[in-house]
């Protein structure tokens, strides 16, 4: 049986995630309404505009549905805007995140688009050397609760990937590079395999 993975398709680069997950053998559902979460092993919250995704998520009743999904043992991974959506709190006043993970996040943490960058960083639990990470108007983790582990940081120590149980969040976009190792890590998490870290 392939894993059933949803990609939150309210807005953003959900098709890019879908293509990678399908290439790894997952059965992928685009999730636009909460009832589409039923029967999923894991959900990816893609990159996009966090204000847009959060607004649409509130409008269609996703905050309660996603908390229920997590309580029932579903795995969730947010990339960039997805990390913002998952946060408990933001440094900024808007938007109101969905509080799925005990992290405090700063939006547009590295500046405007002209400051967007690519770099190589090691990610804990990902074998085979550093991951090429693309940061686009990216957020960063400012604070993390107990039980949340930082699995990747920039050279200056800024945390850019975190994990807690079956939840993970990355400030960068593995779906934009040909390297599928982070998606493979999320599929292992969704399958309930023990943490390699």
């Amino acid at each position: 049986m392939p894993l059933n993975i949803g990609v939150l398709a309210l807005q953003g680069d959900f098709q890019e995630h879908r293509a990678v997950l399908e290439s790894l053998g997952a059965a992928v559902t685009e999730v636009r309404l909460p009832h589409q979460l039923e029967g999923l092993d894991g959900l990816v919250i893609p990159g996009g505009e966090s204000t847009t995704i959060v607004k649409l998520a509130h409008r269609w009743g996703f905050p309660d549905a996603l908390r229920h999904f997590v309580d029932e043992g579903g795995a969730v991974w947010g990339t960039c805007a997805g990390m913002i959506v998952m946060a408990n709190a933001l440094l900024e006043t808007e938007p109101e995140p969905l509080s799925l993970m005990d992290i405090t996040v700063s939006r547009n943490s590295f500046g405007r688009q002209v400051d967007s960058f690519e770099t190589d960083i090691p990610v804990k639990g990902v074998p085979g050397g550093p991951v090429h990470a693309v940061f686009i108007r990216a957020p960063s983790v400012q604070d993390q609760g107990e039980g949340v582990e930082c699995i990747a940081q920039l050279e200056d120590g800024t945390p850019v990937a975190v994990r807690s149980g079956k939840l993970m969040a990355t400030a960068f976009h593995p779906e934009l590079t040909p390297d599928t190792r982070i998606h493979e890590m999320f599929l292992r998490l969704s399958a309930g395999e023990p943490s390699p870290v």
């Binding site: 807005q11 990159g47 405007r112 688009q113 686009i136 976009h173 040909p178 390297d179």
Partner: protein, 319 residues
């Protein structure tokens, strides 16, 4: 040949990824990957024309993925006539400060100094736009020379591939801006998508002549023939005025929509903006489109695009 995980071939992109701008201290900033990547983050979203910080805030609250800062929306540019230029830096800066979503601004076709000014202001995306009066009758700006990504209009596949060859990170249909008439956007989107389908079915020996006839770079023609899609994100623009218009363009197969005059020239901008955002996300759900289309008030008055004399057709601008 290398294929990236999002299904687009990387051959052309790989070759052009090396930074070509001058005086950059950091080769990893402003690369092609981060420029085209920002366009990918806008997918499934609505980009709205705004003329001041107050409208920008309304657009952001309604769920716009980006705003286009300009002094006059296309409907007013049509009415006022004269030369339409880049907006005042003060006005653009006020909008940059007012919202956290990406801010786009327009330069004239071929006016690379206007584009340099926009990049210096910190604008997130430049639209080298036929809505403004062209500054060059032959050449578009060299968009490889910028860290700031560019979006350009097109009416057909050859035009789209020429703009991508010049370094555009995103393409949109031209439609016929400022009319509220969606027919030209439909025509341009169907033309581009149809020409892509045609290339896919040509034997390889015919592709060089296809490139000649399209007036498009051969490498890009090969890539499109192989992958069946443009190598960058493709939005619809020009004449979209209702939630159903937005959903129509999404079902035809574009990645997102620009709404120019359609929102702030209508009776209830905040509600219409919200409705178009909902219809773009739920483009394949007619029940939701029906619900958000209720009681939106007056749509923009509109001009039928086939009543426009040729001299007033903005889509004819660009080479």
């Amino acid at each position: 040949m290398a294929t990236s995980t999002n299904g687009t071939a990387t051959s052309y992109i790989e070759r052009v990824r090396e930074p070509r701008w001058l005086n950059s201290q950091d080769a990893e900033v402003g690369s092609y990957a981060v420029k085209s990547g920002l366009a990918q983050m806008l997918k499934g979203g609505v980009i709205m024309d705004v003329v001041n910080d107050e409208q920008a805030k309304i657009a952001e609250d309604a769920g716009a993925v980006a705003v286009m800062a300009l002094e006059r929306v296309p409907a007013d540019i049509r009415q006022d006539g004269g030369v339409a230029r880049m907006s005042d830096p003060n006005m653009i800066e006020a909008i940059l400060k007012a919202v956290t979503i990406p801010v786009m601004a327009k330069s004239r076709i071929g006016h690379f100094v206007e584009a340099q000014v926009l990049q210096a202001l910190g604008v997130d995306f430049c639209d080298e736009s036929e809505v403004l009066t062209p500054a060059d009758h032959e050449f578009h700006s060299n968009k490889w020379a910028f860290k700031m990504p560019f979006v350009c209009g097109c009416t057909n596949l050859g035009e789209a591939l020429r703009r991508i060859g010049e370094g555009a990170s995103m393409i949109r249909t031209k439609g016929e801006a400022g009319t509220g008439d969606v027919v030209e956007a439909v025509t341009h989107a169907r033309t581009v998508l149809g020409e892509i389908k045609r290339l896919q079915h040509l034997p390889e020996m015919e592709l060089m002549t296809a490139a000649k006839n399209l007036g498009a770079p051969y490498d890009l023609v090969l890539e499109v023939a192989r992958t069946g899609k443009l190598p960058v994100v493709n939005f619809a623009a020009g004449g979209i005025a209702t939630p159903a218009d937005a959903a129509l363009m999404m079902q035809i197969g574009v990645d997102g929509v620009f709404v120019g005059s359609g929102i702030f020239k209508s009776g209830n901008p905040a509600q219409r903006a919200d409705a178009i955002v909902q219809a773009t996300t739920h483009f394949d759900n007619p029940d939701i489109i029906a619900n958000v289309s209720r009681d939106l008030g007056e749509a923009m008055v509109g001009i039928s695009s086939n009543e426009l004399p040729e001299s007033e057709q903005l889509a004819k601008r660009g080479w």
